[in-house]
């Protein structure tokens, strides 16, 4: 390296300027290109929605949501059993997967440190997130339906779906927990709190909105699944809701227990399966029904996503 000071080696004055204009233009072109691709991605969504809306909107009505499926009179057919089945599945899946998922995330993020066990569990979870959903169906059939004797019921379906969405919940919750500034934890420890007290009273409330987003997104993935549930034994034509009409049961606590135990072990169907069945029929009325079903399903999913967005916005408002 020469010993001459840098400031004495001034570059000729015309080296940068022309290239600067070119570089700026390139920059603008790149920005436009990125924008185009982004809009392209968003545009795909709109095309998809437009297609489905065109085919199915005329068939979506109150009747569609309140009626049972019908083979003989497609004009009168509805998705009631499928909607109830999906709701039961979503609630039960949430009940099973959320506590376990949160527990695992809290353990990995707050308790485990960087031990080999923790890294192994982490890798394991990332791997499980990539396993095809139908393998979970095979697992659920072997473990829940046969071995644990839960029959081909809503319960088996929910347990299987819980395993499916668990990795996603754990990963999303870990991100939420990691985003909580460590100063909060340090302050609690400094005041003599135990680890659990810190987590329970300080970290968890701060991370909760982010966790909720992850949970909702994981559940919406579980709702859209078809193949594993067919393997578990979800049916295609179910003219009843799990547990049968509520009027069958007395309004007492024993009645409630009866209803729960019957409903949990009852046969069921879900919206994607009903749609899948309708699409495969030859008669065109069923195809319109399928499109209407997709609209309702997307409506439910959009609702869940909107909730996630609202929670995120509320969380950010709280922060600032």
């Amino acid at each position: 390296m020469s010993a001459a000071p840098l400031h004495s080696r001034t570059p000729p004055p015309d080296v940068f300027r022309p290239r600067l204009a070119l570089r700026r233009r390139l920059g603008a072109a790149f920005a436009a290109f990125c924008l185009l691709l982004t809009l392209g991605a968003l545009g795909v969504l709109f095309v998809l929605l437009a297609q489905v809306l065109l085919a199915g909107w005329p068939w979506v009505s109150r009747k569609f949501i309140a009626n049972m499926p019908s083979v003989l009179t497609p004009e009168q057919a509805g998705m009631k059993s499928a909607i109830y089945g999906t709701l039961w599945l979503a609630v039960l899946t949430g009940l099973f997967s959320v506590p376990v998922g949160l527990g695992a995330a809290i353990y990995l993020e707050e308790y485990a440190g960087r031990s080999r066990l923790a890294r192994f569990i982490q890798f394991n979870i990332a791997n499980l997130a990539g396993v095809p959903s139908i393998v979970y169906g095979m697992l659920g059939l072997a473990v829940f339906v046969r071995w644990l004797r839960c029959d081909r019921s809503v319960l088996s379906g929910a347990l299987t779906m819980s395993l499916l969405v668990l990795p996603v919940i754990i990963i999303a919750s870990r991100e939420a927990l990691a985003a909580v500034p460590s100063s909060i934890r340090q302050a609690a420890f400094a005041l003599g709190a135990t680890r659990w007290q810190t987590v329970r009273h300080h970290v968890l409330p701060a991370a909760l909105p982010g966790m909720m987003t992850g949970i909702i997104l994981a559940l919406s993935r579980g709702i859209g699944e078809t193949a594993p549930l067919i393997l578990i034994g979800a049916l295609s034509y179910v003219p009843f809701v799990p547990g049968g009409p509520l009027s069958d049961y007395p309004l007492t606590s024993t009645g409630l227990r009866q209803w729960l135990s019957t409903a949990l072990f009852d046969q069921f169907t879900v919206m994607p399966i009903q749609i899948y069945d309708w699409v495969a029929r030859p008669q065109p009325e069923f195809h319109h029904l399928a499109a209407a079903g997709i609209i309702v399903l997307l409506g439910v999913l959009l609702g869940m996503n909107a909730t996630a967005v609202a929670i995120r916005a509320w969380q950010q408002r709280r922060r600032t």
């Binding site: 019908s70 083979v71 003989l72 497609p74 339906v145 046969r146 004797r149 029959d151 081909r152 067919i230 034994g233 979800a234 049916l235 295609s236 034509y237 179910v238 003219p239 009843f240 049968g244 046969q267 069945d277 699409v279 495969a280 029929r281 030859p282 008669q283 065109p284 195809h287």
Partner: protein, 342 residues
């Protein structure tokens, strides 16, 4: 009091109907039943059972009949589950029960009653713009579809056909229609060329043929019926020089050969003794022609006396499959089932 008189009148009617060998028409069961009937199996047969379930619900609203479409083989898996509580009551099948399944049934002690329920025709269709081909012989079909077939162009099918690429559309292997077609046309089950466009969904096959001028495909007759304006049906010559087009009458009386196939339901003998299952089956058989040939279902009904003979099998609890007999291959349903009263 009123219920008593009604009950007696219905009982008399039922007795009279029982004498003619048919279950009481429109299933006037004396009391309101409740319970669950578990049906699963072939997605081809499922529309029949779903229609029957829907109509039956109007009569017996407290009996819940749920239908699945796990496939004929998948349905047999559920029909022959290890644990009794997990077994389905009725299995829909687009083919007769196979030897390994029969062996498993014997091993588990499950007695089943085999009940043919309808005829389905497999339609061979080409694109609507195809003006040169009106019929094909079974021999030509075999040459087109057999394993490693070199035929890729219409001109190789028959002298005089134009030079147009032949695009084949068929079901994926492991499907009742596929099994039946390969057995009936190529002569051996599962023997088929592998380079055709395979699809599980018949609607897609229809779309494929309808969109391809050189297309040729096969699927259930009801799929052709729903898409008449986009497809051209071919008449099939079974070797006697007389090509026959599939139609409900031709399928029903067996003149559309060899591509009319029977559809079955297999009933668990023990389950058939439950009143709600029996009532459902009674309803199904009493109204079979109406259910099977409903435009939303689209199959061909069996002749009335054949239904009677089949119903008596159930009444007498004749278990086992008529196809277990190696001599059964090639015989028609009436031959196998009418002469089977024990």
């Amino acid at each position: 009091m009123r219920k008593d008189r009604l009950g007696r009148r219905v009982g008399l009617a039922a007795m009279l109907c029982g004498l003619c060998g048919l279950p009481a028409a429109s299933g006037q069961a004396p009391e309101k039943l409740s319970g669950r009937v578990k049906v699963d199996g072939s997605s081809t047969v499922a529309p029949i059972m779903m229609a029957a379930a829907e109509m039956f619900r109007a009569e017996q609203p407290r009996v819940d009949v749920a239908v699945g479409i796990a496939g004929t083989g998948g349905g047999f898996k559920k029909f022959l589950e290890e644990r009794r509580e997990l077994r389905t009551d009725i299995n829909d099948a687009s083919r007769a029960i196979k030897a390994p399944e029969m062996a498993r049934a014997a091993q588990l002690g499950v007695e089943f009653i085999e009940l043919p329920i309808a005829y389905d025709g497999i339609a061979i269709a080409v694109n609507a713009s195809n003006s040169f081909c009106d019929s094909l012989t079974v021999a030509e079909l075999k040459r087109i579809w057999e394993p490693d077939s070199p035929i890729n162009n219409w001109k190789d099918v028959r002298l005089g056909f134009p030079d147009l690429r032949l695009k084949l559309y068929g079901p994926a292997p492991d499907n009742g229609t596929f099994d039946y077609f390969t057995e009936a046309v190529v002569g051996k089950e599962d023997a088929s060329r592998s380079d055709y466009t395979a699809s599980v969904d018949s609607n897609v096959r229809v779309q494929g043929v309808a969109g391809d001028p050189g297309g040729l495909g096969y699927f259930g007759f009801s799929y052709y019926e729903a898409n008449r304006d986009r497809l051209k049906l071919l008449a099939i010559d079974n070797g006697d020089g007389k090509p026959i087009k599939p139609s409900l009458p031709a399928i029903r009386d067996g003149t559309y050969r060899p591509l009319s196939r029977p559809l079955f339901i297999y009933v668990n003998k023990e389950a058939a003794q439950r009143p709600e299952v029996r009532a459902f089956l009674q309803f199904l058989f009493a109204n079979a022609p109406r259910i099977v040939e409903n435009p939303k279902v689209g199959y061909a009904a069996l002749p009335a006396d054949l239904y009677r003979a089949i119903w008596s099998r159930l009444e007498q609890g004749v278990a086992g499959s008529a196809f277990a007999d190696p001599n059964a291959a090639g015989r028609t349903l009436p031959e196998l089932f009418s002469g089977q009263k024990k």
